[in-house]
Symmetry: C2
Subunit: 710 residues, 2 copies
Amino acid sequence: MSAATKNLSKNLDTIFYPQSLAVIGANNVAGTVPNDILVNILRDNYRGAVYPVSPREQSIAGVKAYKYAIDIEDPIDLGILVFQSSVCHLALEQMGQKGIKAAIIVTAGFREVGGKGLEREAQIKEIAAKHGISFIGPNCLGVINTDPICHLNASFARKMPEEGNIAFLSQSGALCTAVLDYAQAKHIGFSKFVSFGNKADITEIDLMRYLKDDPKTKVILLYLEEITDGPGLMAMAREIISEAGKPVLMIKSGRTAEGAQAAASHTGSLAGGDDVCDAALRQAGIIRCGNIEEMFNTAIALAYQPLPKGDRVAIVTNAGGPGVLATDAAVSEGLAIARFSEDTTKVLKKSLPNTANIKNPVDVIGDARADRYNIALSQALKDDNVDGVFVILTPQSMTDIENIAQEICMVAGQSEKPLYASFMGEADVAVGIDLLQRRSIPHYQLPESMCRSFAKAHYFKELFERNADPPVVPKGLNKAAALKVLDEASAAGNSHLPEAEALKVLSAYGLPVLDHAVAGSKQEAVELSRKIGFPLAMKIVSKEVIHKSDAGGVRVGISAEKEVGKAYDSILKNVKAKQPEAKVDGILIEKMAPDGEEVILGIKRDPSFGAVLMFGLGGIFVEVLKDVAFRVAPLGPDEIDRMIHEIRAYPLLAGARGRTPKDVSSLAEALARLSQLALDCPQIEELDINPLIVSDEGQGCHVADARIMI
Amino acid sequence: MSAATKNLSKNLDTIFYPQSLAVIGANNVAGTVPNDILVNILRDNYRGAVYPVSPREQSIAGVKAYKYAIDIEDPIDLGILVFQSSVCHLALEQMGQKGIKAAIIVTAGFREVGGKGLEREAQIKEIAAKHGISFIGPNCLGVINTDPICHLNASFARKMPEEGNIAFLSQSGALCTAVLDYAQAKHIGFSKFVSFGNKADITEIDLMRYLKDDPKTKVILLYLEEITDGPGLMAMAREIISEAGKPVLMIKSGRTAEGAQAAASHTGSLAGGDDVCDAALRQAGIIRCGNIEEMFNTAIALAYQPLPKGDRVAIVTNAGGPGVLATDAAVSEGLAIARFSEDTTKVLKKSLPNTANIKNPVDVIGDARADRYNIALSQALKDDNVDGVFVILTPQSMTDIENIAQEICMVAGQSEKPLYASFMGEADVAVGIDLLQRRSIPHYQLPESMCRSFAKAHYFKELFERNADPPVVPKGLNKAAALKVLDEASAAGNSHLPEAEALKVLSAYGLPVLDHAVAGSKQEAVELSRKIGFPLAMKIVSKEVIHKSDAGGVRVGISAEKEVGKAYDSILKNVKAKQPEAKVDGILIEKMAPDGEEVILGIKRDPSFGAVLMFGLGGIFVEVLKDVAFRVAPLGPDEIDRMIHEIRAYPLLAGARGRTPKDVSSLAEALARLSQLALDCPQIEELDINPLIVSDEGQGCHVADARIMI
């Protein structure tokens, strides 16, 4: 292992698979965290050796205790620190001296409490760095590894989960306790289960990197309250999806302003805009979930069953009503109701009673027993027109619930297509549900959840296969020229670049600015107008006049030379009246853009994700209808294409209602250039092109107004 | 009881509260429907007398059996018919002879199987009518009444539910079995539970009328696959809400075209458009639910706890993460996070540990026991700034789950504000959840469901209080004139009324048509143009030319007399070229409307709800963005107001982005007149005013084009 790789791995293999570990700060008081952790490790059959460290005890839970970590005669792989926060730095120093390179710091009372906690966190980070210790925490529930060769429950959770192929990483420790309880009841197993707390050293990105190559993990779940390194998170998710084919599911709380505020007072996290976060996660291929239930509903679909090859589903039910509800739900989730082949229709007609409905959704009727389910399911799975099967059961008086569950597991095991189940009800159907859950058939109480989970599995399959050409650096960029303009503005102490300067920056990046020049006098304006040609627009140039139109500083549609002088005077007069103190630097003479659809392009900076691009249709669409698409820069051609198609008003660009289709490819080109500009010039805080006028196909697009804030 | 009232009641009191009943067609074969029903009635402690009727048996389940219903020596209130469908008519005839006036026909094999089943259904309806028998079914699971004075389980459900104040009515019998199982596990009780099957006699509306006055019922739930009498359903729901203050919750399946088709092959139901259904149910105050879980989540909130007086909630949690998730969910559902009074802040600061978060959401911290929950909950409920409280628990190692649940029930019982709970997890928290459910604290596995249910309860409270002025018949209607035009068109065999005729109809109903006349010659056109004034529009008048613009039959913006003749010729030439066979009746000369916002108004007929009004903004808004509002006619002023505000683009009418506000009150007036027209003239199949041009406030609106299909 090279030094670089080793550094990237942050000793995570030692954290998950230690051969020996010390619980530093353990005690004998049952029901306290330091005791619970030690007891959990022992009770849950850890396969290595455990060394309690306690200044006061001779032995804890029957195991010999050591006064200090350095007293232990054997080498120690992992230190689990449970001392109170005020002495953690001392214990960590001793761990360093002992040569321990990996730690889990469970103790709370650091950054999350503010004040002195911040200092303590800085202190432990420094000590850890000095000794080359990687650590999880502080302020966490701990780490669980269900792999039988290690079987480590280094947490104060009430119980150890079953083994499984889902990994769960959480910023909130308390949520972990709820998740473990929820999962146990549904026989959902985990490969690794990590509460990473304040992530002062090892972050969710480090853990994701480890799980990417973990053969025990098939699906990765994340609960986050703050995203510190958005681009890093996105890159890691992409790597996991494309290289390992593993889906990444995530709950990001603090969606609303109020929620973000609650998160801030809880963990001190700073949130960006949630619409940006939502777009960024989608862009990275992360499946964002709204809550724990939705996350696990999706996770079991992905972890238990093959991915569907398409979106055509068959529904098999013993009751018409739920069949209708499931059909509604499937279609609402964008799935297609499969049309059976002739062969399937023939077999179902022959084998099912007359009163059964042999069309999809297949109703095997209320008195169906396991044999009828078997016929319908086997045949549906065999049908080339079917990509996946939903089986629904209601507990009617004749229904042999357990046998049917057995039959379902058997049939599913013989097919390479996914099969999901919904046994509706609760108490009576429990025996069947339990059986399905133990045998890895995803079960859902509601047909709606079943359909949504299938849709997400299908989405992931498409995501995995979809085009994702890497970002291309556009040709003909003059970075130096753009930087020069920005640096000069910065040196002059201007935070707002007037349009003429903004156009220089855009022009340097090859964005389609219109022919323009600044006139210092009426005479010059007339001369320039002759050179530029008509129709043209005239706009005030002044650092102080930010809202040019409001100040009467804009005249458009000037169609002849004779109007230029008059317009010049009237602009100066208007501005003088509205903002007498404003220093005027001239009048911008700019060619008018040809007709077209007005769109808005923008750059903004998000505290979590950095450079963000914005796109929407002009006028009411962005401001009234909030019809806007966001992406994190840089973005490749396919992603730009998806961005443009994302807005609801896209049909207007494509030529809806007899309009002529607009030049979408020139719009895509403009977005690519803007993306690069955002990356190259981080001093641009905000940039608006409002509007960019997109003409008919082949006619390009043109910047009609622009504004930059630095 | 008057005859009319008695007829309206359909003997439902006898169906729910019979003193004696006969199970007609019972047998001794355990596990069959005829046996299960009899056994259920006996086992579940029916307080009246049961008489089995069977041609073959001497006794069934230990009770003496009779060969025929007429053999029974005592009077019988209710007959439960379980014979096979082919002999039901004979049994029903005998029931009539015996003087039985109320029946539940459980037997399947009627309308739902088509063919001979349709005949059988017609036959039993006839016999029942002859003898004055009211009946539920056929093709149903039966009826349950948990009221201890009767305690009747006249169904073949596996179990009788607990007593409660929720009534459930279902078109699907199989769904009932799932619902009963689901509800039992959650200790959800029912007042009445009815599977009404094919509703050949007693409909859901009859049942709703009964439940309106049922003192045991507080909330009414409905599962429907088809709505036969939409206006009747709406009127009954309104009556229940306004007179009895009882909420009506409903699942209507067949939302999607595919689902509707599945429902059709299941029950033979014919569905209208789902967007219309959605609007109609909202208009009637019915709370539409997407699935069973959402329905019961809402029902327990409404049935167990007081309605919230406002939307300000306090959240009390023992874990920060779930507190953030709940805050997000509350805000997403439109609730407000309460700001505590100074008093509350003082008390929480004094009584909770330093590390607790005393702002809303209150975090009582992971080691909280019942006492801390008590303090936070009591104080939050006392606070005048709080309308309701959410309590969240995660099962941490110190959490005394059962004690906390006890404390919650106690505190909730002392307040008149609603309190809902979410104990996150499953197995560990089960003991607490069970306790909450038994003591009528609404419990939700997810904070999201908790917030949504609260939002619905708050919605119902506002619904109950909101203005609902009855529809007003507008003044100055000339129904006779409108009918004359329509009758003439009908007599002439025309299904499409050309614009000039459509304008006559609209004009008769006082809609703001523009000055217009039809010219038969070029000369007349010029004369008329002088009379009408400029600018004006000229449009072809021909029954065959439906798409006037496409045929080149429209010229707008004609601003002077000299253009009229030229336009006349060019229109005729265009139409002749495009549709040489079309008979031309003249050219419509119509004043141009003043400037304004284009909107579309329409009438259509829905198979379930009848006359439906449509409204949206013109151009792309309806066709591309699908931004449309629907309402069932008639509608009062408040409902018209809500309709206009419902579209996303409403801000454009109100004056967004510096526009001038438009004359919304004239638009409302136009909708009121259209509503009356739709009611008065049922022969209008479809009507479009596209566009109606709404001018600035005080300037009115004008019909610029119209089309009627009869």
